[in-house]
């Protein structure tokens, strides 16, 4: 990538030897970071490596224990985000901070609204917003309410919010974690527009592909320590991955050939409606055999969500049937499905997967708290519950170790997912449904999750994988079923798939 837009003589951010301690825990241990004008600088690290801590110090949310922060050559004491904003730093958080019932314009100008006398001057506000959005190619609808717009547009609103406040250094925290592939491409385009205009961008991420596609330089942090800063052009994804996790990472999933067994999941002529009552599943047929991973590829909104909700008992279907080992689980309770062989890794781990206020040990028994040995005569048996948790934590490498009694909400995203994986893999049901199982995880954790999904398949379990990551579908699936408009439109062997054909079929086209 050419670096002509980067002005190497003008450092806009210099963080020198930053140390941040929380009690005995050292979150950042001597980190250096220099960002120049017009540069996209990626910060790469595993979940919990200290990336967010570092950025929170730059944004004034935390104070460094020691070390200096210089913005545009001036040493600045960041006490509050206001200091950061005044210095021209804007931050777009991973979880958006938008007022849902307000319009796009209202959200962008919130706190700095133009006024006419004592009245809000919404006309001027709207004009200003439209001006900036056109200047950087951030397409938005200034009058739409946040609750009605897509995640991608919400993110553009967040970026505009920062730009509106005069930011010329943008921190983007995991900006792509909830975007579709098309939206990611669009975002990278926007980032390049911004740097061409002399803005600088700090990109916090653990997605190597995006770093290669967008960033100029990359600083790697591992377990709070500064590892290196590299020119992105001089390294490949494997180099970045090994620097990040400190060992060689294999992207290739080791999956022995095996003949599928009997039918485990059989979905016949399934019909169902979405939350608005509109028919979204229109006679879907699907089979998953023992020892087989079936991947569902499709664009969001074609019925995948409803399919999974019906299979896990959270939603009633209108017609059709779904059986597991011959027993109908159609329109039964979640517990009925569980007893008859369904386990699942839900799409939204914080909403469906975990009770965040509960400890790890309690989350690990979510479906089994009423069963032996975790309870007897209605009383929870703390000793087996604890030892089950200890064993799970070590077997599934849930970090930090010794966190049996810690609330699940205090873990990093990757480790929360490991808790769910530990629970569902140990439930060891004939059918495992995994929905976007690696969303928001770093490569180390992804490798790990994939390993366990394949492990279940190798053990002869049926796996239904629903994912928006085509790479994931293609590398794991034995069979890929493409879902379009509430039906499976084609079913192809995983090794024969290629991205172009799949993309075409997902959009409703026919394979030539």
């Amino acid at each position: 990538m050419s670096k002509e837009h980067v002005d190497m003589n003008v450092p806009v951010i210099e963080m020198r030897n930053i140390v941040k301690r929380f009690g005995d825990f050292v979150a950042n241990d001597g980190i250096n970071l220099t960002v120049h004008k017009g540069e996209i600088h990626a910060i790469l690290g595993e979940n919990g490596a200290g990336k967010s801590t570092l950025m929170n110090q730059l944004y004034g949310l935390l104070k460094p224990t020691s070390g200096d922060i210089l913005v545009k050559g001036q040493k600045i004491d960041m006490n509050t985000p206001r200091d950061a904003i005044e210095a021209g730093i804007g931050m777009v958080h991973q979880h958006f901070m938008l007022v849902q019932p307000f319009t796009v314009t209202e959200n962008i100008v919130l706190g700095t609204e133009p006024v006419k006398g004592i009245k809000l001057d919404m006309a001027t506000a709207r004009k200003n917003v439209v001006d900036i959005s056109q200047r950087y190619g951030l397409s938005i609808d200034p009058d739409a309410r946040i609750e009605d717009i897509s995640v991608g547009m919400q993110q553009r609103v967040e970026i505009l919010k920062a730009l509106y406040r005069g930011a010329d250094i943008l921190i983007l925290d995991e900006p792509t974690s909830s975007l579709t592939p098309q939206e990611i491409e669009e975002l990278i385009g926007i980032m390049h527009n911004l740097t061409a205009d002399g803005k600088s961008i700090i990109l916090i991420t653990h997605k190597l592909k995006e770093i290669k596609e967008s960033a100029d330089f990359c600083t790697i942090i591992r377990m709070g320590k500064y590892i290196d800063t590299v020119d992105v052009d001089s390294v490949d994804e494997n180099d970045l991955a090994s620097m990040m996790v400190g060992r060689k990472v294999t992207f290739q999933v080791d999956k022995p050939e095996q003949a599928p067994g009997k039918v485990i999941l059989d979905v016949r002529d399934l019909h169902g409606v979405d939350y608005r009552g509109v028919e979204i599943l229109k006679g879907l047929n699907l089979q998953v055999h023992a020892g087989e991973i079936v991947g569902i590829a499709g664009i969001d909104g074609n019925g995948q969500t409803e399919l999974v909700e019906i299979l896990t008992g959270l939603r009633k279907g209108t017609r059709g049937d779904a059986t597991v080992n011959g027993v109908s689980i159609f329109n039964k309770s979640p517990d009925f499905g569980f007893i008859h062989g369904v386990s699942s890794i839900p799409a939204d781990r914080q909403k469906h997967g975990l009770v965040l206020d509960f400890s790890i040990e309690d989350n690990l028994i979510l479906q089994n708290y009423e069963r032996n040995p975790f309870s007897r005569k209605g009383f929870l048996q703390r000793t087996p519950i604890f030892s089950h948790a200890s064993q799970s934590i070590s077997q599934f490498d849930i970090r930090p170790a010794g966190s049996e009694k810690r609330p699940a909400g205090t873990l990093s995203g990757g480790n929360q997912q490991k808790v769910i994986i530990a629970r569902e893999v140990q439930n060891d049901k004939d059918l495992l449904i995994a929905v976007n199982p690696t969303r928001g995880l770093d490569v180390g954790a992804i490798e790990y999750v994939h390993k366990y999904i394949v492990h279940q398949r190798n053990k002869g379990k049926a796996v239904l994988l629903v994912s928006f990551e085509l790479d994931e579908i293609m590398s794991l699936s034995d069979v890929i079923d493409v879902i379009f408009d509430g039906k499976i439109v084609c079913s192809i062997p995983g090794r024969e798939a290629n991205e172009n054909d799949l993309g075409l079929m997902m959009a409703g086209g026919k394979k030539e």
């Binding site: 206001r82 706190g111 965040l356």
Partner: protein, 368 residues
């Protein structure tokens, strides 16, 4: 964190300290009122303390505190399970009138039979009041807070109606029920309380309150039922996903909470009241339960302590007129304490707001 902790951080982070802080503020506000009225703060508060620290005074406090503790447990239990039982007032009233009916109509039965029967009737009546509301909520999605407030009034008028039925109504001129049979009374013998220098109304209720406290703690912390109800309270989506029947849990939680409030009503009747008056306004034991649950951080043992404290305020407050201070002062203090506890959110957010007000980062959360 290496950052120096301010008083604000300290108060915001420690629930117990926060509550203590609120109590002190409550008394400080009370002191201002005393000063404005030209009364001696030392004398008034001195009287408050001395009236509850003597043996006799303390046993009075204990007697007073029993219904507050058990009503507090009722509300605390509902908090733990994610519903807000603002209907404890109505359940309390239903419990006490049910116990009164049994205590009057079956007065000939022996103590050993009659007392458990009164408790059972009270708990059933309270539970029924809770279940109806839970049913309306789970079946038709009717907001439980609204229906509970309505049911408080239904209980109020129903109790007055029942108290007027000839079989129940007092034979004399009193606008009240008959006295319950002495076989339904939990009072210690007169000779015992007199010789030991205890309050004459000292009764078994306190022992029962302690037992109930332990039982509630056991259910919440140690049983699968508690696990289930807490899971639904903390994240009903995950609970449902995990196979827990959410609607059944809400019904169970409100039934238990209602039964506890009903039991509190019977304890008040059988320990102290002896009969149910025709009310002209809501007595407020159930509402006091909300205060006690808040002060006790919804922890059963915290509720036990908070209930005794509340009982002390009410009993001690009744002695304030001896020094010329109005009894209502105690309501001012209690009100202030509750106010500061309930705005704990503000304490917690104050330092956060200081940090983030410039960015508006809080706005997204606030909108949820």
């Amino acid at each position: 964190m290496t950052k120096k902790k301010g008083l604000l951080d300290f108060v915001a982070e420690t629930t117990f300290i926060h509550i203590l802080f609120s109590i002190i503020l409550g008394f400080a506000v009370g002191a201002v009122f005393l000063a404005v009225m030209g009364l001696s703060i030392g004398e008034a508060y001195g009287r408050l303390v001395s009236s509850v620290t003597s043996l006799k005074g303390f046993t009075y406090v204990v007697v007073y505190s029993v219904p507050y503790i058990v009503a507090g447990l009722s509300v605390a239990f509902s908090f733990k399970t994610g519903v807000f039982n603002i209907g404890a007032e109505g359940q309390f009233v239903m419990g006490s009138i049910a116990a009164a009916c049994v205590g009057i109509l079956f007065g000939n039965l022996p103590k050993i039979l009659l007392i458990p029967m009164c408790f059972a009737a009270a708990m059933a009546a309270g539970a029924l009041w809770g279940i109806i509301v839970a049913f309306l909520k789970t079946k038709w999605g009717i907001n439980e807070v609204l229906s509970m407030i309505m049911f408080n009034w239904i209980a109020f008028y129903l109790s007055n109606f029942i108290a007027g039925i000839p079989a129940i109504h007092s034979d004399g001129n009193a606008e009240a029920t008959k006295n319950i049979s002495s076989n339904a009374s939990m009072l210690f013998s007169k000779e015992f309380t007199k010789s030991a220098g205890l309050a004459p109304t000292f009764n078994w209720g306190f022992i029962i309150a302690i037992v109930i406290t332990i039982l509630v703690w056991l259910v919440i912390e140690k049983t699968t039922l508690g696990y289930e109800l807490k899971a639904v309270g903390a994240n009903r989506h995950a609970a449902e996903y995990g196979g827990i029947n959410v609607n059944r849990s809400i019904l169970t939680a409100l039934a238990i909470s209602g039964a506890l409030a009903g039991l509190a009503g019977s304890l008040q009747l059988m320990g102290m009241g002896n009969r149910i008056s025709v009310f002209s306004s809501q007595e407020g034991f159930g509402f006091a339960g909300i205060v006690v649950a808040l002060m006790g951080c919804s922890n059963p043992f915290g509720v036990l302590i908070a209930g005794v404290f509340y009982g002390a305020l009410i009993y001690g407050g009744s002695k304030l007129n001896l020094v010329g201070a109005p009894t209502q002062l105690i309501n001012v203090i209690v009100g202030t304490v509750v106010f500061f506890i309930s705005i704990s959110v503000i304490f917690r957010n104050l330092k956060y707001l200081k940090k983030t007000k410039a960015t508006g980062t809080k706005s997204g959360e606030a909108a949820k």
